[in-house]
């Protein structure tokens, strides 16, 4: 923030129209600044400039993505389960018996590079408050993480820091971490992806919305005091390209206090239960600016705030800094005057500081027409007088130029067909072990064992299974399952198909737990929107997701866009991370990915069709360092049918295990299921054994079936027109592969060593 030696008031602004203002330093373009002057009919005060600069930042306004995100609503399939759609803090999905769940994923990429521990920690804190704000009790978190190469020196700075931040904050909040992703690629070395997901449970009647109706109602700020942390975070960190000076921006990263957030959760839930709030909003990016403008715009449009009443951690903060501060663990509530005393009592019980900082006001029809009227004073002097809707809802919208990257054709023409394939069984065997030990595929326990997966006592499935699952109440058997997936390599080759593959994989992962997929959230991680090539990737990806969701009948309920993920002019591979939520009527029916060791002669089936599809595959990457060609074809009809078989198979108890095929194909799925179950298998492959093992054709899972359930299983597959191919049997203490001209076997002990050694060998001692 520039120095503000003297208070800049509305009166002063009107009298000094030509006074130069640092709008460019705050990330505003010339025409955006001109529009602010036009809205206000004068130059903005420095406090107003602070509000517009953060609210119109890419991070808060979605100005580059909005035109593309609209199709999620326009193409949304009809789904009666959706109680609250996009636009609120998070979507709400009916799960039956009067219960609903809300879930959302959000990025905290840039802060996590600058200060990995606090950056990742506050990412968890932010998404948890989003869920809490909907009126829900947060019940689980997941995280999708992507880093530079495992052995890169900076990865050894960033990865342990990010993991310790998530562990510190999530564990201390008492939320089980039930899964996620861990990926590595050289493109993420200066720009890790830290995407955090939270899911919460609520009763239908408890849904809270960000709104401030009722003139005379009080505006209460509660939670942490406001300090100088994170000032400019929204506009400087999230909306500008990374460069060498990033380390100098360290003070822009917020510092988290999970203990206070835990108290804030319990306090808020008690306030909700006693019906003491009319509207509520969490303070995340853009802090007080965002909460006041959004709450006001969602209500009468009128609000009066005495900024000098905001409790401060540092008494020297100026009005502009208070407006931009991103201090964590703060909430803003709208409370009717007759309930204020009870509200304050609950806050006192939880040792939460709560302060009335203003009230909801009426607006004239003319003011309403202009977008409402938000007035803020500082020790009696007016420093803000603006229509809040112009900041919260009417920010700039850009149709950014779009151009297919010039290297796209060459990239797609460089197919994996010319790569040398394993020539014999010894090479097949060696390459299987190599792919299994690759950092993005190997055992992630080094990371996940630092997360509490047990707390709250309702975790039914967690890492390493295909999706996480929690029981939503103690006294029932209803549950929700969640999975996140994304593959930047596929998306780089073809953003439309790649995004649908991410959706399909998350859908399949949820189905493989036995749950029925219902709704979608997304975290769209891309490079600079000012690069036409990146915008082409973004346009294709969003079109792919919207089309895919329509076809699968799973609406997008919310999400987050993260642009400017690049170092210098080099963008990351476009990485949309897709989260799918599913519902299961009886969690006791859940499926795991572990082969059953206790069923004699369990049969192993492959569901789906395998084609020669190795573009963007783990094999091409790990064995040849190659990225080219086209990703596997998408068949969403087949995915939906597969989902129905898995869901029916789980509820009819005809499946003993299910595991989806993705990175590394059948080879990796067999190895993982065998290791998780502690029992081997023997498979007989037809056709080219290399393609059978390493192809990444979509819409495939392996399932284990007890001999006694075989007839019912076949019938289930027939009913849903899914091809089931018997590929072998479960048993023994090795992975045995046989084919027409030979075969090989790998003892489980050898598989385990390959799978479990990779991360510890690099990260232990860090």
């Amino acid at each position: 923030m520039p120095e503000a030696p003297q208070l800049d008031t509305v009166a002063k602004a009107a009298g000094s129209p030509d006074s130069p203002q640092p709008f460019a330093e705050l990330g505003m373009k010339d025409d955006e600044y001109a529009r602010v002057r036009e809205i206000l009919g004068r130059r903005p005060t420095s406090a107003e400039l602070a509000i517009y600069s953060v609210m119109w930042s890419e991070h808060c306004s979605y100005k580059s993505s909005k035109v593309h995100l609209r199709q999620f609503a326009e193409k949304a399939p009809r789904n009666d389960a959706l109680l609250v759609g996009m636009g609120e803090n998070a979507g709400v999905v009916d799960v039956g018996d009067g219960y609903a769940v809300t879930f959302k994923i959000e990025s905290h990429n840039h802060p996590s590079y600058v200060e990995p521990h606090q950056g990742a920690a506050t990412g968890v804190g932010g998404i948890v408050r989003d869920i809490l704000t909907m009126g829900a009790r947060p019940v689980a978190v997941m995280d999708a993480l992507r880093f530079g190469p495992l052995d890169a020196p900076d990865t050894r700075r960033v990865l342990p820091g990010v993991v310790s931040g998530i562990s510190f904050y999530g564990n201390c909040l008492g939320l089980p971490n039930i899964g996620g992703e861990l990926g590595f690629d050289s493109g993420y070395i200066g720009n890790p992806l830290v995407n955090a997901l939270c899911v919460g449970v609520l009763r239908h009647e408890d849904i809270k919305l960000a709104q401030a109706p009722g003139p005379g109602n009080k505006v209460v700020l509660f939670g942490a005091t406001t300090g100088p942390d994170g000032i400019g975070g929204a506009s400087v960190l999230a909306s500008a390209t990374f460069d060498e000076e990033s380390h100098a921006k360290r003070p822009s990263v917020q510092v988290g206090d999970p203990f206070l957030e835990k108290l804030l959760i319990e306090c808020s839930l008690e306030l909700f239960a006693a019906d003491l709030v009319v509207g509520i909003q969490d303070l995340g990016a853009a802090g007080v600016s965002c909460a006041t403008t959004e709450l006001a715009a969602g209500g009468t449009g009128g609000m009066r705030i005495e900024l000098d009443r905001v409790p401060l951690r540092d008494s020297r903060l100026t009005p502009e800094e208070i407006l931009m501060s991103e201090s964590q663990e703060r909430m803003m509530a709208i409370v009717s005057p007759d309930k204020l005393s009870a509200f304050m009592d609950v806050c006192a019980k939880w040792d939460i500081v709560a302060t009335v900082i203003g009230e909801v006001t009426d607006v004239t029809p003319e003011e309403a027409e202009r977008g409402g009227r938000l007035v803020m004073t500082w020790h009696g002097e007016t420093v803000v007088d603006m229509p809040p809707r112009t900041a919260s809802d009417e920010g700039p919208v850009y149709e950014r130029p779009i151009a297919r990257p010039s290297d796209q054709d060459a990239l797609q023409a460089d197919t994996p067909d010319q790569l040398p394939r394993p020539a014999n069984d010894a090479e097949l065997r060696a390459q299987l072990l190599r792919v299994l030990a690759a950092p993005g595929i190997a055992d992630p326990s080094w990371v996940t064992r630092q997360y509490d997966r047990y707390v709250l006592g309702n975790t039914v499935l967690a890492t390493p299974h295909d999706g996480g699952m929690v029981r939503i109440t103690d006294d029932g058997e209803r549950g929700v399952a969640l999975a996140t997936d994304g593959n930047g390599r596929y998306t780089r080759l073809d953003p439309y198909t790649g995004t649908q593959l991410a959706l399909a994989e998350a859908y399949r992962n949820v189905a493989a737990t036995g749950a029925r997929p219902h709704a979608v959230t997304n975290c769209l991680n891309f490079g600079s929107p000012e690069d036409p090539g990146v915008m082409w990737q973004f346009a294709e990806a969003t079109r792919g997701l919207a089309d895919g969701c329509r076809e699968l009948g799973t609406p997008v309920t919310g999400g987050n866009v993260s642009f400017y993920n690049q170092t210098g002019s080099t963008a990351i591979n476009p990485t949309p991370v897709i989260g799918v939520l599913g519902v299961i009527g009886d969690v006791r029916d859940r499926l795991t990915s572990a082969f059953p060791a206790d069923i004699d002669d369990a049969r192993l089936y492959l569901l789906g069709t395998t084609r020669d599809e190795l573009g963007g595959s783990a094999w091409a990457d790990v064995v040849h360092g190659h990225l080219g060609g086209l990703p596997p074809a998408v068949d969403l009809t087949a995915e939906a049918a597969l989902g129905r078989v898995l869901s029916a198979g789980a509820s009819l108890n005809v499946l003993a295990a299910a595991h989806d095929l993705s990175d590394g194909g059948l080879a990796i799925a067999l190895a993982e299921s065998a290791l998780r179950g502690g029992v081997g298998c023997t498979v007989d492959l037809t056709g080219d054994p290399f393609v059978a093992l390493f192809s990444e054709s979509a819409a495939r899972v392996i399932v284990a079936v007890a001999p006694t359930a075989d007839a019912a299983f076949q019938e289930t597959c027939d009913r849903h027109a899914v091809t089931a191919t018997r590929i072998g049997s479960i048993g023994g203490d090795a992975l045995r592969v046989r084919h027409a001209t030979g075969g090989f076997e790998i003892p489980l002990t050898e598989l385990r060593t390959a799978y479990e050694s990779t991360l510890p060998s690099v990260l232990d001692g860090e």
């Binding site: 310790s164 008492g174 997360y451 047990y454 006592g457």
Partner: protein, 235 residues
């Protein structure tokens, strides 16, 4: 009439609902106790649950020790009358309150560890372990960042000599705990501190086993046997 067992909620307690659930499954009536009330509400026993009381600021359990509820709990526990089980953060609070000797320090790996942990029950002569047999191996979750038990050699020798080591980590202690100690008891056997979480191993659906249930059923059997101090009955 079923036993009433208190579960104390401090600011930052996390596994309080889980402890209450485990007690319910075992057949007890869980009673919520609030840190700020100097009132045990006439309960028959108390569980101090896991979590990060007061954010674990200053030192794990160091602030909770001074909570009003502790002014009632400490004398009753010290006299041998009131059975108390401190799990994880609860164990840390018991040590800070000097109801148990020693301290819990940062894991040797310096990382938080969440894993299914095999324990060996070393003493069944407590209010909380009578349903197990000595040497029994049980599988329950361990989840903590500061779970490494330490004490001076004389104290460790005394604990061993008096049979007050309640459970040890089978194999090497994953957190560096001295003599692989996972749990200990006081001289009366009524106060037990345990680093791993038996309340998370009470349902096959959500835990690695149901081996943890024994701590809670043991308590009920102990209470049913009458008001004789545990040490006198079980040894």
């Amino acid at each position: 009439m079923a036993a009433r067992v208190g579960v104390v909620t401090f600011p930052g307690s996390l596994d309080d609902r889980d402890a209450a659930r485990a007690l319910r499954i075992a057949g007890a009536i869980p009673v919520a106790l609030w840190h700020g009330d100097a009132d045990l509400r006439g309960v028959d026993a108390v569980v101090l649950p896991g979590g990060f009381s007061y954010g674990d600021y200053l030192r794990c359990g160091a602030i909770a020790r001074f909570a009003p509820i502790m002014s009632e709990l400490v004398p009753a526990a010290r006299s041998g009358r009131l059975p108390v089980l401190g799990i994880c953060n609860g164990f840390q609070i018991l040590c800070e309150s000097h109801l148990l000797p020693g301290a819990l320090t940062r894991n040797s790996s310096r990382h938080f560890i969440c894993r299914d942990q095999l324990l060996r029950v070393e003493s069944t002569a407590t209010a909380w372990t009578g349903d197990y047999h000595t040497g029994q191996e049980i599988l329950i979750p361990l989840k903590s960042g500061e779970g490494s038990y330490v004490a001076d050699p004389a104290t460790l020798d005394e604990l061993e000599r008096d049979g007050r080591v309640v459970a040890r980590y089978a194999g090497a202690a994953p957190n560096g705990a001295q003599r692989d100690i996972a749990g200990i008891t006081n001289e009366h056997g009524n106060v037990v501190g345990l680093m791993p979480h038996p309340e998370h191993a009470v349902e096959a659906l959500t835990g690695p086993s149901v081996d943890g249930l024994g701590f809670f059923t043991s308590l009920l059997a102990h209470l049913a046997a009458g008001p004789v101090p545990a040490a006198a009955t079980a040894r």
